[in-house]
Symmetry: C3
Subunit: 318 residues, 3 copies
């Protein structure tokens, strides 16, 4: 693996999920792999889980890690080729990526969407410019439209909890929120669920359809209750509309899950990428209950980052 | 020791002080103790000494250290159980503490008081919520009402400088300042001085009484000069009023120390936790003089943090 | 070497340049030199290359590195001796430097000029106060008027690219910009070029004369084309006026370089310290061309920092 920015960078997603899980047996077992290698983590946006799990993953692999809040500690970046840089942007990604590549062996970057310029966001302009101008591997720590480390951790969590021969039914349900959120986690989860062998359903209010390219053959249901029937895993997530982009069309029905609503499921696990707005996106009664899978997902974020970095380090060596 | 948030977490404060001092002989002698352990340092407020001494203490113990400015780099935290999170708070401490516990073996946190909500501050709501929801040990890097690492370093400094058989006289004196400061350093110093064998006196203007729970059997004097008589150590610190909470009632007399005022002491050492407003809280003539103990206190901050982390690591192992 | 703040701290600049280049053969060869030593990096201003290359240099030498954005994470510093600290400055450099010296074995600091108070800037007041009150060696990560790590890297880059017996002609040319920039890179480059054996020329519009102390015996030409003739290296850099200080007097002619303008040179290499405003300071056609030396300069920033830290560590030991 050279870069890790989506499921399409992974030859065999199931094998990656299984290797990620296997790392939990001996977390420090690969501490010699990253000796004298530097991991550069570039943040254009806030982060807790990603920041900590990536740093810790670097430590598990014996790497030196440098964290940089580019917007606060460095220079405002210009992302457009050929720009006449007479505004407030101080350094071009072409030059910044060249420099980062000189000091780092792997670069991770987090960049959120504009939620106003759909074309720019969905072209992955920012992440692609970094990859274009870096001479070292790049790992997405969440891009404008994808969050593959989260989805990998989600896949690991489902695999760990499922040991029946039949496929699990996995439902991604839209949840209420107070502000417009990116579609990255949902797009990415949809991609990964299609890449592994599960029965996958998405449910959301009309007007909240995800980008068609991410939901091609996925069943979409506008009735939450119908979607939840017989579910084994329920992934809860808010996202803003794809059309009109970044907006929050009014929703009439009550989309907040509850223990009562969960009764139609097959005793399903509750999943969420965190951070979660308690009692807005998910009620305490579910987050504090026994079927809450978010701690396992958060734990797996560490091993997702570790297995991705491990694969890249192995590839660099060979 | 499981957590370190006040003198009450320590079975034998004198033994801890003595062990802290003993670490100075061979600072790197315990570098294998924290191997493959991660120290997470969470800052909700600015810090210089605490930030650097805690990071360095982690290094002395061979730990991997991750520093996180939660307010700037992560998410705004909700601290109230059962909250409907529809304001600007993005993540609940319940979930954040769970996640931090997954990636870190020990968590340190700094959180300042509101200085407006006395009940919340004096309940140690924020620190207690972190402890409640963490599954790993927690170290206070200064809380709303206490600063135990500072007090431990202060105790070490007094022990190092005192080799007479009689008890030293230690005076905590209020000092002027331009803005309302927390009571944490003063509360904490009072607790620790009561826990070790010294003759302890507090002096401050009327209206600046500390919380009664921290000064139970301590002599309080409103006349600074009288308090200073025969002092061996003079701890200088500003704090805002406990009642009316966080206010700065007017002070008529001149409370700024001077060489002249110090003449009634027993050639006392000057102590301060730093940062200090020179010529407002303490004059240059004292801070630049030979009896200034603040460099020793600052040096001992390092070994205070080291001995606390060492004790917790040892406890975790057994 | 005790401190590194200008070329005058270096006995033999050519020897330092050559040793810096020699480190590239075996970057990790000195990893035992900094064992159990701590490098403190203090930033009062933004930084990308300096931040990353200094951290990585610390790693190459096996040092523990602590990065501190003093303005954002710590306390606002007072730099003036004797100040009555009743404004917004919370800690005096006298106390902060004492504390930093307790936890760190070497301190690096970046501090930009005011561009309004020429006397303060050109006295190097801020850097000198740090040195005055530190008890450990200090490395400039760019000061108000000098950027010696950049100049050392620039010297290394010229040495690596020049293998003829005759002296190279090195031209420093002023370039347009949208805002007033410090003179530090230009002053420093001028100092270093005078200290090594090159034919050095500065060209800039009238009104942009650098401080006389930095250009004593240097040829100044107001005609860019004339200066460029036969150049082997062209260093491109904007700076604001020394008189009236920090201002941007209007410039009539077009000072932006181009391939066409470069034709009078001896196929010269293009140099710039970065960050560069593309198509304002330098056009894409030159930055994306084969004679662009900025990647080598950025790479050499790492070895410049490493050789300086190495020399200081060696000096500390003996």
């Amino acid at each position: 693996m050279r870069n890790f920015t989506s499921v399409h960078d992974v030859k065999d997603p199931v094998s990656l999920i299984r290797e990620g899980i296997s790392l939990k047996i001996n977390p420090w077992g690969n501490v010699h792999l990253g000796k004298n290698k530097t991991l550069g983590l570039i943040f254009l946006n806030p982060s807790l889980r990603t920041r900590l799990s990536s740093q810790k993953a670097g430590q598990l692999l014996g790497m030196n890690t440098i964290v940089m809040n580019m917007d606060k500690e460095g220079w405002a970046l210009e992302w457009t080729d050929g720009a006449i840089m007479n505004t407030n942007k101080t350094e071009h990604i072409k030059d910044a990526a060249m420099v980062l590549s000189l000091y780092c062996d792997i670069i991770g970057m987090r960049c959120f969407p504009t939620l106003t310029d759909r074309e720019a966001d969905y072209s992955e302009h920012v992440m692609k410019q970094l990859i274009k101008y870096s001479t070292v591997p790049v790992v997405s720590l969440e891009s404008a439209i994808l969050h593959p480390l989260q989805s990998l951790a989600d896949g690991m969590s489902i695999f760990e909890k499922w040991n029946k021969s039949k496929k699990p039914k996995v439902v991604l349900t839209w949840a209420p929120h107070v502000k417009a959120l990116p579609q990255a986690v949902s797009n990415s989860f949809s991609e990964w669920m299609q890449a592994i062998d599960v029965d996958f359903v998405i449910t959301h209010p009309k007007g909240y359809e995800l980008a068609p390219s991410f939901t091609k053959e996925v069943q979409i249901k506008y009735e939450q209750e119908e979607a939840l029937k017989g579910a084994d895993f329920v992934y809860v997530k808010n996202w803003s509309a794809y059309e009109p982009y970044g907006q929050m069309p009014p929703v009439e029905k009550d989309w907040l899950l509850s223990e009562k609503k969960m009764k139609v499921t097959n005793g399903a696990y509750i999943m969420h990428c965190l951070p979660v707005r308690r009692n807005v996106e998910l009620p305490d009664e579910l987050l504090d209950g026994k079927r809450n899978l978010t701690p396992l997902q958060a734990e797996n974020r560490l091993y997702a980052a570790t297995v991705v970095l491990k694969r890249i380090l192995e590839n660099t060596k060979s």
